[in-house]
Symmetry: C2
Subunit: 247 residues, 2 copies
DNA sequence: CGCGTTTTTGAAGCCCCTCAAGTGTAGTGG
DNA sequence: CCACTACACTTGAGGGGCTTCAAAAACGCG
């Protein structure tokens, strides 16, 4: 379990070493989960006193549509938390599940709140991470509404490499990505058949390799231009832009 | 300007009369805006110390796509705030503009924070309203990704009548709705032409009337069943479901 | 090596798009 | 009061992107 999971928060707001240490101390009993494991069930009373952090692998938020289709509404990877709010609504209309084999840690809300009480910088970092997530949701709405399958696929792949590269200075263009094409279909709102054809077209153009659980971006610049990908919506590097209170 | 704008918050968390009074005192200098007026510009440095509340009419969050299309990512109506966070990110990737002629009030963040400091119930109410908004965003992602034009239109109209009815016990099935069909297209991610044909089909079936700035739902039950509309994602009535801290 | 899952391929069809033109409708000024 | 303008709505035609259904090929795991 990479102990750098927590450091990702520092991309949103600078953290003191003590805050980082206290966060790490809070993350205990990591659990290995198989792909497809429910972390939080939709409809569950969400007031159970536990939050989760992904240490390794991928998870997603999802909604089950009345017809039974699963639509994925957000991605979670190493360093992402399922929920960082101190309050919850009585019911939740989405679930969280692993997309790949993953390592996930439970955190008691009580301890979490205790740490937040001692570290104002952590409160700010989590708040900004939350704002960034809302920005991502808005971008997803716009992409689903307006972009073609090819553009959405390109955009998703750009987002993926950006997010796995959150810890490093430069982009990792070859990443482990054991998603089934059916998962990509649920991410993009497409049929699995069309996902397949879209990937094949991109492979044939020499844009990407995407086989046997690995993604390799062969021509990142062209992928960016197809996707019209502007990484500012991820709000990485927020910490370096003179963080400050509003007003 | 309806002074019940603030009361909407009480749907998320019970508020003391003093909290409501202090909120109302904070809302000063309402401004009448024509439809299509920018309230916050995307890309603007959002750290200006002002938030806005809609008192009358409709506004929206939107993203301008690289091609120039506008995609609306969220609706705001009477009682909705543009931003209730105490912190902001360095840049914003969306804007807020009026969709109809509207009355909007400015609130200084400093005063806003002062009121929050005195009323814990308001902090909880705003936090829950924020969670509800995220729930709406996820529902929009799923709808854009998976529903047909007809289903999306039906769902949007159901959401609209639910949201204008936030103050009353029962649903208002006839509401003023001066949206152009082009606005509906930007809301639904459709072409204006197809919005027109979709509306016409619904009119012909006796589902709705939607003309000259008024919407009337003629057969709400059938509209709900077409949309597969489950209002729980709006999280109204949250306040009556034993509000409580997590953990 | 065998079996379940995933990926690939083909065919047919519908949903929604774009382009383009025509019909209202509201507001303005002569 | 009517002509004029600007804009919103409506209608038609044609095309393409994505879907569904169905089946074959390839992969991966015991």
């Amino acid at each position: 379990m990479p102990d750098f999971a927590v450091e990702k928060l520092a991309r949103y707001h600078p953290l003191t070493p003590q805050a980082i240490a206290d966060m790490k101390a809070m993350i205990e009993q990591p659990v290995a989960m198989k792909h497809g494991t429910e972390i939080m069930r939709d409809g569950d009373d969400p007031r159970r006193g536990t939050i989760f952090v992904i240490l390794k692998g991928w998870a997603c938020r999802y909604i089950i549509m009345p017809g039974g289709d699963r639509q994925i509404t957000g991605l979670l990877t190493a360093g992402d938390f399922t929920d960082t709010r101190t309050i919850k609504l009585a019911v939740s209309n989405f679930g969280v599940m692993t997309l790949t084999d993953a390592t996930v840690a439970r955190i008691s809300s009580a301890r979490f709140k205790g740490v937040l009480d001692r570290h104002r910088d952590l409160v700010l970092a989590f708040a900004k991470a939350q704002l960034a997530e809302e920005s991502i949701m808005q971008t997803w709405i716009a992409n689903m509404a307006r972009k073609s399958a090819r553009e959405r696929m390109a955009h998703l792949l750009c987002e993926i490499v950006s997010r796995v590269s959150a810890y490093s200075e430069d982009l990792r263009l070859m990443v482990k990505l054991p998603f089934a094409q059916a998962d990509l279909a649920d991410l993009l709102g497409l049929s699995p058949v069309h996902v397949n054809r879209t990937i094949q077209a991109m492979r044939a153009e020499g844009l990407i390799q995407l086989r046997s659980k690995w993604l390799e971006i062969s021509d990142y610049n062209r992928l960016v231009s197809i996707a019209e990908f502007d990484p500012s919506y991820l709000h990485y590097g927020e910490a370096s832009r003179q963080p400050e209170l509003a007003a």
